[in-house]
């Protein structure tokens, strides 16, 4: 009827920037954490199974 679309006339901050905020910051978060996980030398002590080739230790 006459005034039912009251909200749509004035989109608020979340309508205008919500998608951009969500997408941008999630990318930032994932990028930084991938860097942390792989590049800076943190030892995650992953299992040697399938990953490490055993080397003879008895000299």
């Amino acid at each position: 009827m006459a005034r039912l679309s009251h909200q749509k006339c004035t989109p608020d901050f979340h309508d205008k920037y919500g998608n951009a905020v969500l997408a941008g910051r999630t990318t930032f978060c994932i990028a930084v954490w991938t860097y942390v996980a792989t590049q800076i030398g943190i030892e995650w002590t992953l299992s040697p199974v399938g990953r490490v080739i055993p080397k003879e230790w008895r000299d």
């Binding site: 009827m1 039912l4 009251h6």
Partner: protein
Amino acid sequence: MLATRVFSLVGKRAISTSVCVRAHGSVVKSEDYALPSYMDRRDYPLPDVAHVRHLSASQKALKEKEKASWSSLSVDEKVELYRIQFKESFAEMNRGSNEWKTVVGAAMFFIGITAILIILEKRYVYGPLPHTFDKEWVAMQTKRMLDLKVNPVDGLDSKWDYDKKVWKK
């Protein structure tokens, strides 16, 4: 007389109220927050007061027309009466919003800041890793664990094929 009797029963506040009554005439002014207020709530569908309290001239005329038969009101007039009485319809009141996107975005941002803090921590705070984490050492350590038959049932040793000398697929 009446004032002192009320005072003895109720307390000092009654004295000041009755003083105000004598000072201002017959009307005692209340604060806005003490009066019944309007609210848009699903669980309180008919609020205590109308939304529009000070009617314009045309609105007052409409209110007069409302006292007659309602079939004489047009659709627009009915909507106008509704809007005088209520601020938002139930549909407007219950509408969802996109606020969650901003909230989740802000949370992700601060989690990202945490990652930056960890980078700084690793760079400036932590000392070097012990030598037992070198690739060569870990390889020799793994071979020794296999020679010692560590966890042969379900663990490390069960994953190693001793005949072919490779990890089991």
